[in-house]
């Protein structure tokens, strides 16, 4: 039992939790800055990014695709800003124009490939394949200290761990400037903070989180984790530090509960097959948000009747 757990469930569980944390952290600031949908836009343009990365590299390997995805998200951000500023279009519409177009281009590129496994790949980009990230070499808990077995860990685990670490460090270092420029941009500028650079840095970090998490778990979780845990946390507390803390708690709960429910829930109900873990994690995060929206102590707007 424990050998099965370590080999089959532990890696996806850890990856799911790390991905949730990586997205929820910058998500807090995106939600506060009313940029929540940037995460949505970025996760859509990941698809053309990996396709172009593959076309340019010519081989099926992870790094070109990840680089392509990262580049595509930066292109998307530049396009949104360009359309917004030069064309004087409101940000929501600029986002809508950008991500649908890039996504369409990605699908077209994919369809131009031989069609055998193509549809499956679009779906992978959307749902990910969390369940398949197993650790074949593990024989039990003792494998965690066995260097040979550790070398056989899914590579996604290392990548998402590094990305999460980077994001945690970014947040810790830039915590004050981020908080100040989020709540009072005018004041931040008057004390000499480069608010524009901070804003761009936040978007870049979000893109990094989206790409790293997408690699492991697909776009759906990325959008859900950017928005649902921070939004739920915002309805629970008035303090920024506490909000980030709660959002992490919610993200971890969603990831663990979602994974367990997807893997075992159907079996408890008498079905033979498990369901999509990514979809279930998103669903659980939605349930958490719904509960927070009904019971959260800080759910009301200032001055709104209770």
């Amino acid at each position: 039992m424990s050998a099965d757990f370590v080999a089959l469930s532990l890696p996806p569980l850890v990856i799911g939790v790390l991905a949730a944390i990586a997205c929820a952290l910058p998500g807090n600031f995106l939600v506060l800055r009313r940029q929540a949908l940037i995460g949505d836009a970025i996760s859509h343009v990941v698809l053309p990014g990996i396709v172009v990365g593959f076309l340019l590299a010519g081989t099926v390997s992870t790094w070109p695709m990840l680089l392509g995805a990262a580049a595509a998200s930066l292109v998307a951000v530049a396009m949104i800003e360009g359309i917004r500023r030069l064309g004087k279009v409101e940000p929501g519409a600029a986002m809508g124009v950008t991500f649908t177009t890039l996504f369409a281009a990605g699908v077209l590129l994919l369809e131009q490939s031989d069609t055998s496994s193509v549809h499956l790949d679009v779906e992978h980009a959307l749902y990910g394949n969390l369940e398949s990230l197993i650790w074949i070499d593990a024989v039990g808990w003792q494998s965690l200290v066995d260097p040979v077995a550790l070398a056989g860990l899914p590579p996604e685990l290392g990548r998402i761990a590094m990305a999460t670490l980077g994001i945690v460090i970014f947040m810790a270092v830039l915590w004050r400037p981020l908080a100040v420029s989020t709540f009072d941009e005018g004041f931040a500028r008057s004390v000499g903070l480069p608010t524009g650079v901070i804003g761009v840095a936040l978007v870049v970090v979000s893109a990094l989180a989206a790409v790293a998490a997408f690699d492991a778990v697909g776009s759906i979780i990325v959008i859900a984790m950017f928005i649902c845990p921070p939004a739920a946390a915002r309805l629970v507390t008035h303090r920024l530090g506490a909000q980030v803390g709660w959002s992490l708690v919610f993200a971890v709960i969603a990831a663990v509960a979602g994974y367990v429910l997807a893997g075992h829930g159907p079996l408890w109900l008498g079905f033979a097959n498990s369901v999509s873990a990514a979809g279930m994690i998103a669903t659980v995060s939605g349930v958490i948000l719904a509960l927070a929206a009904v019971f959260g102590p800080a759910r009301h707007r200032a001055g709104q009747a209770t």
């Binding site: 949908l37 929501g92 369409a104 077209l108 069609t115 992978h124 759906i220 995060s285």
Partner: protein
């Protein structure tokens, strides 16, 4: 991550000869079904452009994204229900009905989150679209394990697929698109009113809440009808891109809806026709890319609001300001340090490269100085102050004031006198 992609060499796609089938497709020569799909896509595009205009004017374009993603669980539930009742799960009207139900539910969730909690609309939209879509994915994986689910083809609703479309489906889409279009045309007035001045609309007896509801219902209808053609991820493009593109061409709401409808219609028509010419050209992405092409054209080339026009206007204004300042400097004998000013003056033959005025330059400078003085007088004159206040400082005085008014001003300026 994906394994085993086999891409056709990229170059071949780029250098492919123009397809003789394209003309056939554009003139409805590719058979009954393809023609119906093309007509349906055109009607859909026009309806989407029209309905999207009011969404855009209310600055709520991305609400449609929540609506479209929220259709997925409905499609899956409808499929499961129809299979459970012993029917064919792929019955399109049933699936669309199911999708409309959960799309409506998603809209209600967005509205409730915004009204009842302190979350902003963008967070509510993102939460609803990801959660509903995630739940839909869960249902999809359940369906795949059902005996009837193997060939369900529900994935076709993600990206749209017109390839295996049956005749009744095509008719449904064409009729649905036409109906939505008619509704947009009928409801133009209240939509505009609510978009620009909800308070006034309320005061004149319209129920803004109700009108908003109708607008959302229309958006939902477009989304649902568009699911099969463009797919639920890209259908928002039809609602967003045409109005954004149309906005570059006009400042009038009525024209905006018409132009957006036309852009949407052309996108649907050209996109569906192009995709019918060859396999591997999926309808949805082609329609979206055609729409984007028209957006890019509008963005760059539209007179008035297009980027090129704005840049040219900016340059002209800059030139005029530099010219005026330069001439005043010449007239008062001040040195000119500004490089652009000097370049403009020398190019017009008004100054030499070292900043000394030519004869023509001295004449123009004297006129500029005199006109400055005339404006000063005009500003202090009770009868002309109104006109002078709106003066931008750049247009020639002769184009703003009548000769009589100028003569009146000149009478108050001390005339040149003989040197004694």
């Amino acid at each position: 991550m994906a394994v085993g992609w086999q891409l056709r060499p990229w170059r071949r796609w780029l250098t492919r000869a123009p397809d003789p089938m394209l003309r056939e497709a554009l003139t409805f020569g590719l058979g009954y079904n393809a023609t119906l799909v093309t007509l349906g896509a055109t009607a859909l595009g026009m309806a989407a452009g029209g309905a999207g205009t009011y969404l855009f004017l209310r600055k709520r374009a991305l609400v449609s994204d929540a609506v479209s993603h929220a259709t997925l669980p409905g499609i899956c539930l409808a499929f499961m229900l129809m299979v459970a009742l012993g029917g064919d799960g792929r019955f399109l009207p049933g699936l669309l009905l199911g999708s409309a139900v959960t799309a409506g539910l998603g809209l209600l969730c967005v509205a409730a989150l915004v009204r009842r909690t302190r979350l902003t609309e963008d967070a509510a939209i993102g939460a609803v679209l990801s959660v509903f879509f995630g739940f839909g994915v869960v249902l999809l994986t359940i369906i795949q394990t059902l005996p009837a689910g193997r060939q369900a083809g529900l994935e076709g609703f993600l990206l749209g697929s017109t390839a295996g479309m049956l005749l009744p489906d095509a008719v449904l889409i064409a009729v649905g698109g036409a109906l939505t279009l008619a509704l947009v045309a009928v409801l133009h007035r209240p939509f505009t009113l609510v978009a620009f001045d909800p308070g006034y609309a309320e005061a004149t007896g319209w129920r803004t809440g109700g009108i908003d509801l109708v607008l959302m219902a229309l958006v939902m209808a477009v989304t649902v009808v568009g699911l099969k053609v463009v797919g639920l991820i890209m259908v928002v493009a039809l609602l967003i891109i045409p109005p954004v593109a149309a906005r570059f061409w006009t400042d009038r709401a009525a024209h905006l809806a018409l132009i957006a409808g036309a852009i949407g219609g052309v996108s649907g028509y050209v996109g569906a026709a192009v995709s019918a010419t060859a396999p591997g050209l999926p309808t949805g992405p082609i329609i979206v890319l055609v729409a984007f092409g028209m957006f890019a054209l509008s963005f760059l080339a539209a007179p008035g609001r297009g980027v090129v026009a704005v840049a040219l206007r900016h340059r002209r204004l800059q030139g005029a300001i530099h010219m005026r300042q330069g001439l005043l400097a010449l007239a008062t004998g001040q040195p000119i340090y500004e490089a652009l000013t000097l370049r403009l003056l020398t190019r017009a033959g008004l100054a030499r490269a070292d900043g000394v005025a030519t004869d023509a330059g001295r004449a123009r400078a004297a006129k500029a100085l005199r006109d400055e003085r005339r404006w000063d007088v005009a500003r202090s004159s009770p009868s002309l102050a109104g006109i002078a206040a709106t003066h931008d400082g750049l247009s020639e005085i002769e184009t703003v004031l009548t000769p009589d008014q100028i003569a009146e001003i000149d009478a108050r300026i001390d005339a040149p006198r003989e040197v004694t």
